[in-house]
Each structure stands twice: as C-alpha cells, then as structure tokens.
C-alpha cells in the first residue's frame, strides 16, 4: 500500500496510466464529431447554402476535459484508493474482549458492536486468539478463546441483558481465569460496586484498555402515586448541564391500539441527578397506561412498567335503604368507604345507573331483595367478569333469599336467622378466625387474634360448600364464601360490613383481604409479607432495549423473592402476575441511582469513536461513470440530437402519478354518490368490458330519454378495490377467463346484496345453452356465485314486478331471446287474492337476476349513439332490441323503486276508502 495523506492506494502502479492523458487529449481533439444523416425533402431548398464558419467541427475543450476527467477518475478508481488507511498495530497473545452488556449499553449498542468488530478484525489480521464475554452473562467455564474470525461471525448474536453487570462476581471470574491475556473492556460508563478489584485483576493478566462512551445515560424509576398524580422519577448520570427530557406514557387506546397517551417534560436543573415527571390524568386514561418510557434513549432502564399500584379500580358501593339517619358509624358502608377511599375510585347511585358505568367491583352491603331487572342486569355484569362482593346483615338474615334454593347471586344457601355467639344471652365466646387454608386467596395473611365474630349468617351444608369456602371461623363455619359465575365471581362475607357483627372491619386484616380480592389495590411497594405464598408468573419481560419479549417459557417467581428483588437472570425486569394481581419489576429499584463510572488512576480510557477504513474505489468509479453520462448528454447537445432525448425524458416524466389516480378515484366516488350510476364488473376481457360499458351507456341513454331516471356515464368496477355501496345496480357478464374474487371481495359483495344492491349475472350464451349450468359459462357462474349470499331462485313468474315496473312485459330478451331468466323466488305463502291480478308478493327487491340473453350487446351503443351490434333480423330484430331496452328500464325501475308497482294491488282498496 502506498499512502499519501489520508488516502492510500492498494495498487499504485495503475496510477502510471495517468501519463497517457495528454496523448488522449491530442487524439480526441483531432477527431470532429460524426455527422448525422437525415432524410429531408426540404433539402432542395438548402442546395447552395454555405456554412458561415468552419470552426465548430472540433470537439470543444470543456467536453474534452470532461472525458479526460472521466478517464482519470476510472484510473484512480482502479488503483484502489482507501480513505483513512490503518497503519498496522502491534499486539500479540490472547485477547479478551469484555463487554459490560447491561441495560445501559443498549443506548449505543450498535456503536459498541462496531468498535468490537474493529477490534476483532484487527485481532483476526494478527491471528490472536480472542474471547468475547458479557459481564452480565459470564461464561461459566472460563473465557472461550477462539479465532477472532469465528467471533466476528458470532458477534450479531451477542446481545445486552436488561440488568446491571455485577462487578464483584466479575472480579472473581477474572481471578479464576488461567494464563495471561490482554483485555479490551467495553464499559457502560456507569458506577458499579467493585470496579477497582476488576481493574486490578485484569491489569495483572496483561494490558488493559477501556472503551467508554460519553453518551449520557437516562433512566426511569417505577411510577408512584403522589397527591392525585402519577410521579415518574427520571435519573441521569451526567449532572453538569441543565436539561429537559420528555417522558411518554404508553397504553392501549379504546380501540385496542397501542399509542402514546400522554407526554410530560421533566426538567433537570444544573447539578440535579433526578427530575420528576408528573402526570395528572383522568382515571380512565390513567388506568390505560402500561408503561412510561424516554423517547431519547432506547434501553430497559428508560422504561418503567406499571402494575396494579397505578390501577385505581372503580368500586360501586350499595347498601340496603338506610332507615336511620345520622348514625354514621353504624352506616353499613362506613368502614368500606374508609378502607377503599385511598386506593379506589368509589361510585354511588342506583344499581342500574352504577352498572352503566361498568365498575370493576360492586359491593352490596346487606342488600337482600333486588328487582327482577336489577338482578338480571347484575347477573349479566358478573357473567362478563364483574366482581360482586356481598356482606351479610340483619336484612339478609331476615329475608328468604337463598333459603330453599341457591340464589343465582349468592355463593351458598343460607340457614334462616343466622346465629349469635358470645352475646349477653348466649353461652359461647366470640369466635376468632382460623388460619387461611392453602388455595384461598387470603393464604399467607396473618390472622390477628383481636378479630372476633359475634354474629353471622350460616351456610347450609352442601356438597360444594367446602370448595366455595375461602375463610372460616375457628369452629369451621364459613366466614367468606365464593362462587364463580361465568368470567366473574360472587363473594359473600357472612358478617356485616360494619363493626356490628364482628370486629373484622376494625382490623388491618379487613383491608388486606379486600386487597387480596383485588377490590382495592395494594400500596406502591409490596413487602415480602404481602406477597408471601403466591407464585408470580412473568407475563411480559423486557429486553435490554426496553422492548417487550416473550415470557412464556420463563419459570414463575415466588412472591417473597419478588418483593425487593433486583433484576437479574432469574427475575428479568418485566410484569409478573398471580391471579388478579400484577406486579412490575422495573430495571431500576425505588432507591437506585446512576452515576458516572470512576476509573483508578492509570487506566487507559478511550472513546467509542472509530475512524474506519473506507474504500474509495466505488465512489471513484461512480464518478467516472457519472462524467461519462454527462459526456453523452453533452455530445447529444452538440450534435443536435438532444431534442429527441429530451422528448424521451419528458415522456418518462409525464408517466402517471399515484396521487393523480387518487384524486380521480375521489372524483369517481363523488360522481357516483351524487348521481345514479349504472356499474358493471370488470372481467379483465377487454372486449367484454367494452361491450358492458357500451351496453350500460345505451341503457342509460334510454332511461334518460324515457324516464325520470337520469343516469350518468356507467363505470366499470374492480371487485377487489371498488366501493360497491355507491352503485344500485351491478351488471356482471360471466367470462371463463375471470378470476374468482378474493374472500374480502365476496364479503363486500354479500354486504352489497344484503343492503339492497342488485347484481345481474349474464352468461351471454342463451343461444347455445339453456339455463341449466351445462355451458362452460354456466359452470363458471356457479363457481363465482357459490360464496354469495343468494336466496332461492325461480324463473321470473308471470306476475313478477319486473313484468310491470315501467312497461308491461312478458319477455326479457337481449341479443338472445330465452325465457330462462331467474330471480328470487316468491315467498311460499304468496297467494293470489280473489279479484286481484297479482299475488301479493310483499316487499324486497330481488338481489340477483340470472340469465344468458347477452343484454349488454343488445343495449350497446357507440359514442355517436348508434347501435353497435345487430339483433335478430329486420323489423323483428329491432322489435327485440326495443323489448330488451324495455326490460332494462323495468329492471332499473325495479332496482330504484322496489316493489312500488306491486303495491298497486292496494289501489282499489285505497280508492274505495277515499270514497271514490
């Protein structure tokens, strides 16, 4: 390689060819441009004319220069120029490429990999054994030293992990390695515990070079509620400058599409490591948020998932009618209100009004009897996934509900009267609660001793009582029972919602039980105790880039572990669910901060920037080709041939443009919507389409002349794209070559037929086949029409409306005159009334007309209004054409007016009533 300045040449000898250029100059200059030969009759007028000057026969200097430049560029290109040629670098022995590979690396992962690739390329050139290791995912059995080329091919599969690198483990890992090696450490630039030990260990083995990017890191902590708004803390590692970062809240909109719901800017003052984004949103919108993210950086750290702690459930509270006013502490709902107000949105009102708001939970405190309509509506709501929580009370105990048979909205049958224990008039002491059994949603909650029950309603023993019981008293009587209804469930507390029958509402257990039932939501940070006993299955996990990954194959995590867990290989950041409860494990915990890494003195730290070798061969040759192309244009210009070339270019430039088609589409739709337009199906056979167009044009003209229907020019429709709803009538000539339309097209056609459109199928073969499906077109028609929603058919009966919609007709000829024209069959109960000329064939336009008389040909006119095709012979033929037109007019009248004519059977009765 030969290097001048920033450019090197791989084969510099070729540059010697540049010496030929002056010779080329002289040669090119000596040859004038070739003449064009033109045939031109006017030459006789040119004879004897002389040119004014003879100098322009030489190639102009600028054209020569252009050509020489092109040749020079080609020579330089073939000499293999290289920008930023790499001078060879020293180095020997094995090389360890250590990558942090945490979430913070994801922000410029491509740049890191490019740098690693450059290192590997260099190592491959020198034949160094190389190993690549991620600090977040250390290879268990030592550094995998291989050839660098091998690692280069495996590099794309090296991906960062969505957690922090553990440098303490890394130091141990390095200690465990054998032999000496140099190290390139691609670090994420954040402060991690134990860095000095790693640096020390690596320096012991060989030369250590650190690459670290200067890009600032931003991260989000989990969101939390604070005085009515959601606060999302935003962290950064470089604190010098003031900065603004926007935070986006993403979720599903009502149509189910994922979109940005809100965007808030967090402001960093100079010196701040943390800023807060406050989202003040209505509950409907707030409940939809599934994640917060920082648009400026793509990493797991810049994503904060939301869980139940942000979901405020809508709870409807209803009680039996209050008979006593003012006794607030005795009000059935008082304790519920106190318990839920903090964490849920409460709704009051009538049961039916409340259900309209579609709450998550309905709480009925001591409500016994409901109106039939209310009961049905509530049952329907529960069936669709509602959670109904009922509390017992004097009214329920006194009522007959769920006595003899189990009420649909009660989990169990009740014994009449209930029982009272531990009162002044009874022997027993108040009962305490038994520990919650496994399988109960309350499993794991501690049972405080002070909770006592003095009165309850009792469940009737039954085969499924045991499985429906989720909490019991010490003596085994059910305290809470549950029944699933459809997707929802009914839960009955056998005590009152207030402190009248038990001290449960006074204890913390009451709130915890409501939380477990997902009536209310939990506080932001669940403790291990809260989650004990449940196994949480990951529903969604994040990769290092903050994208949601598949969680299906991951093992569940025990609740105790999950509380306060750090993201790691066993519990990657994501969303974990157990039953109704969902907990988000975010990349950054509530206390985590991020700081810039500090390196021990003496460590070599480089930036990520890499000046790569660029081959200039391609650009140089492209330049040569470009110059030659300019030369072609210039030569054409000089010889006067450019005009033709311009014409070609102009033709190319005027090729139709999509937007133009779009506007003409719109115009067609506007036209079709504002006028009556007859339409036909484009079959792809140009001749058939032309005849259809001409036929409908002829029919349109006749309609215009004879009736008040004034159609405009007919249009051809492509079934795959056209909007059929604008056209009342569709003429469909059946050709063998037509493709069967797609399923969507059939769906549209069926919608068209159901909404009152009419299709006229024309097999155009009535002279060779009677209408029985034996002709090829007939069979193709069967194939085309099979997916269509077509009612039973019959040949046009004599009293069909088509026979008298405008003209009185008994024949329906086109170019052929066959009687076999089929329409929708009359209802079987249609009967002829005495004295009426027609049956009373109530409403409904036939959606299809099938025949083979080739009507379009009979109707067809050319642009001058003359008939295009002969029909029959002589006067009879013209008569047949006239009847064909009349049939067409009847048909369009039938399409447009429905069975208006059929209603004329009522005219005598109407006249009679009018006293005529």
């Amino acid at each position: 390689m030969w290097i001048i300045g920033p450019i090197g040449f791989t084969t510099p000898l070729i540059l010697l060819a540049l010496a030929v250029l002056p010779v080329l100059w002289l040669l090119l200059r000596a040859v004038p441009p070739a003449p064009i030969r033109k045939r031109f009759p006017g030459v006789v007028l040119l004879l004897g004319l002389r040119d004014d000057d003879n100098t322009s026969d030489r190639t102009p200097w600028w054209l020569l220069l252009l050509r020489l430049l092109a040749v020079a560029a080609a020579i330089v290109g073939f000499a293999g120029p290289v920008l930023n040629p790499k001078p060879p670098v020293d180095g020997r022995g094995p090389l360890l490429v250590l990558i942090d590979g945490g979430w913070a690396d994801a922000r410029d992962w491509a740049g890191r990999m490019a740098r690693v690739d450059a290192i590997l390329e260099d190592a491959a050139r020198k034949g160094r054994a190389t190993a690549v290791a991620l600090a977040t995912d250390l290879p268990a059995d030592g550094a995998p030293f291989q050839s660098a080329a091998e690692w280069q091919t495996r590099l794309p599969s090296v991906q960062p992990n969505p957690w922090r690198p553990d440098l303490i483990a890394l130091a141990e890992w390095v200690e465990a390695q054998e032999g000496a090696f140099d190290t390139f450490w691609v670090a994420d630039g954040l402060f991690h515990e134990g860095r000095n030990a790693v640096v020390q260990a690596l320096s012991d083995r060989g030369e250590l070079t650190v690459f670290q990017s200067a890009t600032p890191v931003f991260a989000l902590r989990g969101a939390a509620f604070s005085s009515g708004a959601i606060e999302v803390p935003v962290l950064r590692n470089s604190v010098e400058n003031a900065d603004e970062v926007s935070v986006v809240a993403t979720g599903l909109d009502p149509s189910g599409a994922r979109r940005d719901l809100a965007r808030v800017t967090a402001v960093f003052e100079s010196g701040d490591a943390m800023a807060t984004a406050r989202f003040e949103l209505p509950p409907e919108l707030r409940n939809r948020i599934s994640r917060f993210s920082l648009p400026i950086q793509r990493s797991a750290g810049s994503v904060a998932l939301t869980d139940d702690s942000l979901k405020r459930r809508e709870v409807a509270l209803l009680s039996g009618r209050d008979e006593r006013e003012g006794l607030q502490l005795l009000a059935p709902l008082h304790y519920l209100r106190q318990a839920l107000e903090v964490s849920a949105d409460l709704i009051d009102g009538d049961l039916l009004d409340v259900l309209l708001a579609n709450p998550d939970v309905v709480v009925l405190a001591d409500v016994a009897q409901m109106a039939g309509g209310e009961q049905a509506a509530l049952l329907d709501w529960v069936d669709r996934g509602g959670l109904l929580v009922r509390f017992a009370g004097p009214r329920l105990a006194a009522s007959d509900i769920s006595r003899a048979t189990e009420d649909a909205l009660m989990p169990v049958r009740l014994r009449s009267g209930g029982r009272t224990v531990g009162g002044a008039m009874s022997w027993g002491a108040p009962k305490t609660l038994q520990a919650f059994p496994e399988g109960s949603p309350f499993f794991g909650l501690p049972v405080p001793d002070e909770v006592t029950v003095t009165a309850q309603v009792l469940a009737q023993p039954g085969p499924n009582l045991a499985e429906r019981t989720i909490a019991t008293l010490q003596d085994g009587t059910p305290l809470v029972t549950r029944k699933k209804i459809g997707q929802g469930q009914v839960i009955l507390f056998h005590v009152t919602a207030n402190a009248e029958w038990s001290s449960l509402p006074l204890s913390g257990l009451y709130v915890q039980m409501l939380e477990r039932l997902a009536v209310s939501t939990r506080p932001p940070q669940p403790t291990a105790e809260d989650l004990a006993g449940a196994v949480f299955q990951p529903q969604l996990v994040l990769d290092a880039f903050g994208e949601a990954g598949d969680a299906a194959t991951l093992a569940g995590v025990a609740g105790e572990t999950l509380a306060g867990a750090q993201p790691g290989p066993l519990s990657p950041p994501g969303l974990y669910a157990s039953g109704e409860r969902r907990i988000a494990l975010n990349t950054l915990g509530p206390e985590d901060t991020i700081e810039t890494a500090t390196w021990p003195a003496g460590t070599v730290v480089e930036g990520l920037a890499v000046a790569s070798e660029t081959s200039l061969k391609g650009p140089a040759l492209a330049l040569a080709a470009l110059l030659l192309m300019i030369d072609i244009l210039a030569s054409l210009l000089l010889t006067g041939r450019l005009r033709n070339a311009m014409a070609v270019v102009a033709v190319l430039a005027v090729t139709p443009i999509e937007t133009h088609a779009q506007t003409s589409d719109d115009l067609a739709i506007i036209n079709a919507a504002s006028e009556v337009v007859l339409a036909y199906v484009l079959t792809g056979d140009a001749q058939v389409d032309r005849v259809s167009q001409a036929g409908l044009l002829g029919l349109s003209q006749k309609l215009f002349q004879r009736t008040s229907v004034e159609p405009v020019e007919p249009v051809g429709l492509d079934l795959e794209t056209a909007d059929l709803s604008l056209y009342p009538f569709l003429y469909w000539p059946v050709t063998l070559s037509q493709n069967v339309p797609s399923a969507e097209a059939y769906a549209r056609l069926n919608r068209y037929l159901r909404s009152g459109g009419m299709i006229m199928f024309d097999t155009r073969d009535a002279d060779i086949a009677r209408f029985s499906g034996n002709s090829p077109e007939g069979r193709h028609l069967q194939e085309l029409a099979r997916p269509l929603d077509i009612p039973p058919l019959e040949p046009i009966p004599e009293d069909h409306v088509l026979t008298r919609a405008f003209y009185l007709l008994q024949d329906f000829p086109g170019r052929h005159n066959s009687r076999d024209v089929w329409v929708e069959a009359a209802p079987p109960d249609a009967e002829k009334v005495e004295g009426m000329p027609f049956r009373n064939l109530n409403d409904g336009v036939t959606p299809v007309v099938l025949g083979g008389n080739d009507w379009a040909t009979a109707w067809a006119v050319d642009e001058n209004g003359f008939q295009m095709f002969p029909v029959g012979r002589g006067y009879t033929g013209e008569r047949q054409r006239e009847v064909a037109y009349r049939f067409g007019i009847n048909l369009i009248m039938h399409v447009l007016t429905g069975n208006y004519k059929s209603d004329q059977v009522h005219v005598p009765a109407l006249l009679d009533r009018l006293g005529q």
Binding site: P35, F40, L46, T639
Partner: protein, 293 residues
C-alpha cells in the same frame, strides 16, 4: 375490392367526409355546362325538375308564363324549375418520394394525408353529384360509386421513384375545376405550365401544399448530411442550426411564388400541415371549390 390499402383509404375518406353536407362545386359558366347534375340546388334555376310557381313579375318574358296554372286564378304565374348543375373536377395528388416524409412516427406522411384529402373531397363532390376524375389520362371524370372505387385504387398505387413530383398538365377539360395536392418543393416549371394551360381553358381550382411541421420548423443542429427522400440530392452542413433562418426564407419565398402563380391563374392556394387535423384542410377545399369568381 382488390387492393386492401385502397379499401382502407376509401373508408377513412368516407369517415372524414361523413361529417360535412354534400359539396357542390359552383359552376362558373352555367350556360356553358352541358351535363346536368343529379341533385337539385334547392333553388330556382335551370333544370328539368319542377320547383315552384311564383306570381309573374313585370319583366318576365311572356313565354315563361304557365297558362294552365294561371287559368285557375286571376293572377299570372311563372313556373320555375330547380337549378341543377354538375361540374367536372380533376384531382392531382403528388406521388413522388418527397411526399413519403414524416417528421414523427405518430404523424402520417404527407402522401397519406394528401391522398386522404383528395379522396374525401372526391366523396363530397360525388355526393353533390359532380363528376370526379384524376388529372392526366388515367381516370377521366365520372360519377358513381364505381368511380370512387377506381379513384381509391388509383390513388393507392405505388409511388414513383422521382424525388419531386411534376404537376400534371395534360387533359385538362375546359371549364372544369381542379384540385392539386403536393408539397410543391420540386421544380416549379411544370406547375407554371399547368396553371398557364388551366388559365387558357378556363379551369380554376385550388392548390394545397401539404407540409410536415418539421419542414416548417427545421429543428436540426450540428453536423448533418441532408438527403432527399429518394437519395438523389445531398447537402452537408457543419452547423445545421445556422441554416434555419435562410431555409425558412427560401421556403417562404417558394410559397410566395406559388401563391402569385395561383392568383394569376385565378386559383386558390393554401398550406396544410400534417400535424393539423385533416378536417381543417377539407373545409378549406370545400370553400375553395365552392367559391364563385
């Protein structure tokens, strides 16, 4: 029809002529015309068919009064006949090689346009009852659809190998009319001769110069060798663009020359470009042959 090209030429011409009312060439000397046309002129004049009775006016010759009609009333009536006239029209269409030129593939060559115009004029004239033939000895003026077929066939025959055509001056009938279609780029002497003879015999008519738009624009640049269509003439230039002005001058000069000749002989002269619709030229021919001098 033996010649397919002739068939298509005839049908094209009939399509073009179908949009105009029948054309009747005005006879210049009514008295001198011996042959009567088929169709009346829808006005009183000389002819065989009864046209109308009109009250006799002072100055009407006594012998023109229709006594039978006058006997039925008190006034005197004159019986008028319908004016009927027929004229012989000869066509000459240049069939030299220069007429084969077309500056653009999308345009018909000059010969095709000239033949179409001639044929269309012939159809119109025939519809008007005139007799139409070709100048020279090949096809004397006749009437009837057979003559139309012959005209079409003769016009569709192959071109001569001459570079430029010479105007036909033989067998011009006295007091007939003529229509000459050519580019008139060749030697002007035969045209002078033909017009002189025509003037001698009382023949008037129209000259239509059919040119391609390229011949009017001369859109050439650079080193060019121009050849005539037959290859007989050549002219080389290094800068075709410089010749444009002088070429156009010469073309205008030639046109002036022809126009002067035509005026002197009482003929009409018009230039038609193949880039323009043929109907324009046909309309002009219609007017020109109708014009009374």
């Amino acid at each position: 029809m033996s010649h397919p090209a002739a068939a298509s030429l005839r049908s094209d011409a009939q399509a073009l002529a179908a949009t105009l009312p029948p054309l009747l060439a005005e006879a210049r000397h009514l008295a001198a015309t011996v042959l009567m046309g088929e169709h009346g002129r829808r006005r009183a004049g000389q002819g065989d068919e009864f046209w109308q009775y009109r009250p006799a006016m002072p100055g009407d010759p006594l012998r023109r009064i229709d006594w039978r009609r006058s006997g039925r009333s008190d006034a005197h009536y004159v019986r008028e006949k319908e004016w009927q006239a027929a004229q012989s029209v000869v066509l000459w269409v240049d069939n030299a090689q220069s007429m084969q030129f077309s500056g653009d593939n999308a345009r018909p060559n000059k010969s095709a346009r000239a033949r179409l115009l001639a044929m269309a004029a012939a159809v119109l004239l025939m519809d008007g009852g005139e007799r139409v033939g070709l100048a020279g000895l090949a096809l004397p003026p006749r009437r009837g659809s057979l003559q139309l077929l012959r005209l079409a066939e003769t016009l569709s025959e192959d071109q001569t190998s001459d570079d430029y055509g010479a105007a036909e001056s033989r067998a011009l009938r006295p007091n007939s009319r003529a229509l000459y279609l050519s580019d008139f780029l060749g030697d002007i002497a035969p045209l002078e001769l033909a017009l002189a003879k025509a003037a001698d015999r009382g023949v008037v008519g129209a000259l239509v110069q059919v040119l391609d738009p390229v011949e009017e624009a001369f859109p050439y640049d650079g080193r060019t060798i121009f050849e005539s269509m037959g290859g007989g003439l050549q002219h080389e230039t290094l800068k075709a663009g410089d010749l444009r002005g002088r070429y156009l001058e010469r073309l205008a000069e030639r046109r002036d020359q022809i126009a002067t000749l035509a005026r002197a002989a009482g003929w009409q002269f018009e230039t038609h470009h193949t880039g323009d619709p043929a109907l324009q030229a046909l309309l002009w021919i219609y007017r020109a042959l109708e014009k009374v001098h």
